[in-house]
């Protein structure tokens, strides 16, 4: 039985797809058979971030409506053996996503995979609720910014009332906080919420902290999940996050501001 993890946030643009791609890649690199599903019907983007946009033939909706089999629709990742991508439809409207259809697909995938990562659309509407409904765990992606934190709290409310686990009175969905676009310098200036504050407000366990990093845009430009860029701070931070998801105890990195020395200020320092 696969573990189903939803990557969600409420607010758009906080890094859900980047995180879903990075986490799925990290899990597969660690030898877990992993599939990552794009639930953003109509506005798919996971294929771009994963660098497989030109190999999309069938999508999630085709599978749900019986026009293609799962194995036809799933794209095998070029870089990592155990990784598959199930893209969303670009043309259909989001009503084509039915609860029964999603359940069937997830049931089938659960038999073959260790991890199923669901990349949720933004918002709290049907698409987002379907993406989270079957989750065993949730990674709530949050920026250190008021609207993102508030929306994350709304999502936590939905996870505790509208998920399968909530409705069937099972153990609740395991909720993890993933802070992205964290800028230690601005935090130390007092102009950005610090991670302790965000944790205190949302009151869930911190699974990872991804610093604001040039590597993320570079990765999406190239269609290579940032986990592969092990020289970068973001790549390492996602790798740490994956280790914690696997139950390992890894100390937090990249959350403290190191004042630049004279030399690195003069010469610009190394690009991360």
């Amino acid at each position: 039985m696969a573990k189903i993890i939803v990557v969600t946030s409420g607010k758009g643009g906080v890094g859900k797809t980047t995180s879903a791609a990075a986490i799925a890649t990290g899990l597969a690199l660690r030898g877990n058979k992993t599939v990552v599903i794009d639930f953003d019907v109509g506005l798919r983007n996971l294929d771009l971030i994963m660098g497989c946009e030109r190999r999309v033939v069938y999508d999630l909706i085709n599978v749900i409506q019986g026009e293609a089999g799962l194995n036809q629709a799933m794209i095998r990742d070029k870089r990592v053996d155990n990784l598959h991508i199930l893209p969303a439809s670009q043309t259909r409207d989001k009503d084509a996503l039915s609860a029964e259809g999603v359940e069937k697909v997830l049931d089938a995938l659960s038999k073959d995979f260790d991890y199923v990562i669901c990349d949720s659309p933004a918002g709290i509407e049907r698409g987002a609720q379907l993406a989270m409904y079957h989750a065993d765990e949730a990674v709530v992606v949050t920026n250190p910014e008021v609207s993102s934190v508030r929306d994350s709290d709304r999502i936590l409310g939905l996870l505790s009332s509208k998920s399968r686990r909530a409705e069937q009175n099972l153990d609740p969905v395991k909720e993890h906080l993933l802070i992205t676009r964290y800028d230690p310098e601005r935090v130390s200036d007092g102009d950005m919420l610090n991670l302790e504050d965000i944790q205190e407000i949302l009151a869930i366990n911190l699974i990872g902290l991804i610093p604001e990093s040039e590597a993320v845009l570079r990765a999406s430009n190239q269609g290579v999940p940032v986990t592969h860029d092990m020289k970068s701070d973001a790549g390492q931070a996602y790798t740490d996050t994956v280790s914690r998801l696997l139950g390992e105890d890894v100390p937090l990195r990249f959350h403290e501001y190191q004042k630049k020395g004279l030399l690195s200020r003069m010469f610009g320092g190394g690009r991360r």
Binding site: E145, V146, V149, R150, D153, R154, G157, S160, S161, V187, D189, G190, D191, M192, L193, N194, D197, I201, L202
Partner: protein, 82 residues
């Protein structure tokens, strides 16, 4: 002297303002999290009825639903003007 005070005055950091605002809004969201769907409507209609008799504002009325073991208690507090 005034200028010196002005210069010395510590500006409240924006992150701590953000934290305070979030704590309030999140507490409010959580209090609504477990309430039944009809609560906002009930609240609105109760307010209308009360307003037919007394002129009070939204802030003068406080409605809460507390859950106990086998029942829920709907508490309605109205601050009436003298």
């Amino acid at each position: 002297m005034k200028l010196l005070e002005f210069l010395k005055r510590e500006r409240k950091k924006s992150a701590s303002v953000a934290k305070e605002r979030l704590q309030i809004i999140v507490a409010h969201q959580r209090s609504q999290r477990d309430q039944p769907d009809y609560m906002p409507m009930l609240e609105k209609e109760l307010l209308e009825v009360i307003r037919r008799y007394v002129n009070v504002g939204q802030e003068a009325i406080n409605i809460s639903l507390d859950r106990e073991d086998d029942c829920s208690v709907l508490e309605l507090n109205v601050t009436l003007p003298r």
